[in-house]
Symmetry: C4
Subunit: 391 residues, 4 copies
């Protein structure tokens, strides 16, 4: 049997209308389920609306059971698993992290739902249901994982500073504040509240030496923040570069324009382009706006609304270059007529690329002249070239 | 009718004297209006000066109504809208975000002014009036928008951690602190106060397990800070590079010196230069200071105050190169005689550019020798070249 | 006598099984010792389990004495010290920072153990025992040391702002809050709690002017955070680049593949590769996953689990390139059969490197065709090259 | 009269022994003065030691008066001012920011010293005395100044968010907490304490809507931190690059080795080197350490302590390259015999530079072979080259 249509509905990245509807229902029910769990712990609400809450809990729990079963059924259509026997593909999915997580979200929710103690856990478990639909969170997870060694080193240093601060605070303050600094574990609570600059104020040193220590601990806390920031800023920069490149690399192959660039520059060009998705009907640019980038169509179709006529461009064509060449504002409004993926090239990179690739410059100039020669009175030569010639 | 003079007065980027006066009045009245709104909510002040406050409110409200009407009248002179019929240009402006915002600031301010409940909103609405005059804020807005997906992913992770922390805190602390940890929503308040390291201290865990959880939440809060910092640091670096380039690119074309550079390097040079604006009378450099950059005049005029004579340079000329070549301090004070835009080239980039562009080096050396040959006893050869020859 | 086997056991970077066991014992006992010190300061625990805690303290203290003596005995086998007389090598170690630190951890722990006052210091001293085993902490220490001048400048500015804030707060609030703002030292406590945004809430300004000052101090505190973050982010980026390069540089020499690259590119390639360690049995990649990097084996052995057969690759060989060339998912699962060090090359850098190095591209294509020609139906040419040819 | 010796003593960057002594006295007395001002505000101390404090205040004040007069006398020897008449040079200094600041520190200190109200200001004024001696603070000041527009934009956004939060909090909480949310200015205090995540806890929202607002404000506060961090991280990276380059550029000219590099690479090499200052007697490297950089002597002299003999190297020579070439630990201890400035070249950049500059590689290899041929058994060829040849 072919489970591919079902698999596509459940695929978080599918653009299928049925998949969209499924996602909306999924997201709304998860939010609804969280709200129910939260409400159940509030006694007055529970007293007044206990039955309604229980019914809602059943609905959400039921939906997640259904989702689990559907994902289990569709598992044999997972790309790369088509060659396996259906039962093996399903077993593999069932023991994968995603499968186990979905099971946790579904089955026990209903089993334990009468016990409030365990039910209150389902708030955050169901919140994690959104993770599958957030590619950005996966990226961030990868950043943290890549930098885990450095982050852990900061944590170790953090732990040593914490113990040191707590031990000294214990010695300095145990006489003056025996209630809150009476043991090192108690002082540790003060130390972490202070080192993270949270500062509840429930434990405050009162001796002069204790306050000097406190001031140093707070200042040291900033250092931990700053080190972590520095580590993650670098990790994120690297991840960002990686993620964008992977996507662009695939899309560049769809634009014939770039075939002239030659193998040795294709990787560099892929780095300059940024993929952008537009739903049908989205306005890509408006007439009269200043021009800051040009676009290549990787997928879909756009409508160029020129004053006298409308032109349609499809996958592989480009637009928006005239404003970059002339410095004039956009002379047309462009609307996506289908869900489209465009590759945008920033004005900064546009001028660099053209300067280095005379062949590309020629193609773009010819196309621009061909398209807009009659409407744009200014000569269309690239400014840099124009300067050169006038010298 | 020609609304261009009026449009120029209202244009936030105009250098017109009338536009400057309008901006001062606008900024002062907005600040004044905010002060009135704040004062009105303070009962003793309201009791004593109610009439004066109301009068002030009328003045500010009246000014914003006038501004709205003037902007509406001037709308047909907006660049790119000149070809439209006047009524259409005005309708377009009236339904644009700026037009709607100005309407909100103006009309209801007077309509509802007797109702203190709504009037107190006008404090922050009027504060937003400054946004139009702050190009930097638009840049920052663009950074946040570009990185919105990543920032949103952090927020989602933040939300999951928050729910998890609150659920666990509820289980751990509900016995010991039923008043403040009696439900998950109540525990959520503690969790967000802790995860953001705000730490009011109104809700503090008292059990050992609760405190260990609290310490982990605080430490996790630093991670959120750090991730956000990292994301925005990267986004800002990209935006900065973009903004500077766009401006410099336009200005470079005005300096004939750069026409010799050739098309293939112009984009790179534009990246090295930094545009700087000087009002008339501003001192660009002082005799005796160490020299750390040279300047190209993109717009305006400067006066070189040499010991014996004063020289005037205009748009397209350059100065300040002698100190970079000789390493001696500045041998003249330079003052802008008109509002001028200079392109500064840092000493670091100056030496790199000259090393790569022998033709530019020759022009600069000749000009330097011509200008300062008699006053500067040291040979004017570029240090790098001098080293090479002496080897 | 040959102390090298003993030295290897104690060496924090040794992969010896005995060294692993020693490290586990060391880490467990250090944690155990810290727990004992913490427990001793809690009076009820001390009252009930005093004897047990003392016994535990003896065990941990004894272990650290033994460790100290063993390290002293093994010192002559330290690389670079083999040519010295044994007594000199030992004396050198005994007066080195590591030797002194180990002495502090060992001897006095037992001497003073009856005195709780001093014993409570051993919590954090023993926590520092982990530092030797954390190479990341050394890196971070180096970052902080490299940037110490800038960090110190921020501290000096921090100190001046602190004194300024405290002096002004003293003048503004001493009338209204004589108890907490009665002297500048007292106001300094408020200032540091506020400037670090800790905000205990034990000292809060109550006058309007004091609150305006407080708001400014808090905002200024963010600037300190931000400056420190900026400084450390840059320092960390530099350190990271340095640390990775040093390690990769050594490993690259072990892979014959890179011998073709030529001296002039070897440093650049070393920068692209990232060393990764895998224990025996670790899964390097799984069949069906998307391919995001390829691997070179610097040390160890891996097993390629193809559908029909298992292939073993050893040091100097490479794998994982097919998925990068075809864009298809991984067609094999790869498992390390020994503790292995692999050099991974990211897909981004892979395509760049191949584009610039046709010779390497040829070798990889030939190997890929040779290995997988029969199982992969898609043509194996590199996409960039394919595009070029089809143009 | 020649004031240059006096000027040198007062110059913050002079290495003169007298200048060092002056700096120590200056720093100690400034610290002492701050301590006195702090102590004077503590009533019990003031009561017991009033006379001693006053005497100390006189001493410090007298020293700063003397410093002011000496700086005034020495002003004509300021570089760049030698050609001016003495009275003009002094007048120029007296009205310069430094001169006015020194006057403020000196004269009124004594005039108002009997009035405690004003005297308490001198704590932080005297703390600023250190600024002149901290070049790093000037760099940071320049970073903040360069980025002032962006930082100010964040502040404007911060202000708008603050007003918005306070207005809404006022509406939501004024019924429940009239004491602390009774007016927008009162709510502003809560908003700033919350937005900066300080969280004193003196004002806490109690309604559900107020708490949701509070949570949003805290989260928004992190965004301000993060934006500021991002802005300053970029600004600092730029400043750092600039400061290092300026210094290295001057020093490179002193090392004949770099004369062979050619004009076109000198700027790039200057970027790779890092200047480091060593006092006489400082150990630059120790025998047996791993080698991570080599050194060029820009100024001063070092002693190479080889096992059999001591070699002295002076300005223009280099050392430390053998360990980089062989990978072996340092084979000598190197000590600076005079205050020396060395240019260090990191191993990463060393290998890149040698790969690109075969001529430099040859010089270094010859020198290394010449110096250490007999002691280093391993072939001295550069690893990259060795790999190439063995292929």
């Amino acid at each position: 049997m072919d489970y591919r249509p079902l698999y596509r509905v459940l695929d978080p990245e599918s653009h299928d209308p049925a998949a969209r509807i499924f996602r909306v229902v999924h997201h709304v029910l998860a939010a609804f389920g969280i709200a129910i769990v939260l409400a159940e712990t509030m006694e007055p609400v529970q007293a007044d609306y206990g039955a309604e809450l229980a019914a809602g809990f059943y609905v959400v729990g039921g939906f997640f059971i259904a989702e689990y079963l559907l994902r289990l059924i569709a598992a044999p259509s997972k790309p790369g698993h088509e060659h396996l026997p259906a039962w093996r593909a399903r077993a593999l999915w069932a023991v994968s992290p995603g499968g186990i997580f979905d099971l946790v979200c579904a089955l026990p929710g209903v089993l334990f739902m009468t016990e409030h103690y365990w039910a209150s856990f389902f708030g955050f478990i169901w919140a994690s249901k959104y993770v599958r639909y957030s590619p950005g969170l996966a990226s961030l997870g990868r950043v943290v994982r890549n930098e885990r060694q450095s982050l852990f080193s900061v944590l170790l240093g953090f732990g040593i500073v914490l113990l040191t601060a707590a031990s000294i605070a214990y010695l300095l303050e145990r006489e003056a504040n025996p209630a809150v600094f009476g043991s090192i574990p108690a002082a540790l609570w003060w130390a972490i509240v202070t080192l993270t600059t949270t500062g509840y104020g429930d434990v405050v040193p009162s001796t002069v030496a204790g306050r000097i220590l406190g001031g140093s601990v707070m200042t040291g806390g900033i250092l931990v923040f700053a080190l972590w920031s520095g580590i993650l800023a670098n990790g994120y920069a690297q991840e960002l570069r990686r993620r964008e490149f992977l996507r662009t690399w695939e899309l560049v192959a769809k634009v014939p324009f770039f075939h002239n660039i030659g193998a040795s520059l294709i990787a560099e060009v892929a780095r300059l382009l940024r993929p952008r998705d537009y739903p049908a009907g989205a306005v890509v640019m408006r007439r009269g706006q200043p021009g800051d980038c040009m676009y290549f169509i990787a997928d879909g179709e756009v409508e160029i609304q020129l004053p006298g006529q409308n032109v349609y461009l499809i996958s592989g064509q480009f637009f928006g270059e005239v404003a970059l060449l002339t410095g004039a504002p956009r002379n047309a409004t462009v609307v996506a007529t289908q869900p489209s993926t465009l590759l945008s090239l920033d004005i900064v990179d546009f001028h660099e690329l053209l300067a280095r690739q005379p062949e590309l410059a020629r193609i773009i100039h010819e196309e621009a002249q061909h398209r807009h020669g009659e409407t744009a009175p200014r000569p269309l030569a690239e400014p840099a070239l124009a300067i050169d010639e006038s010298a």
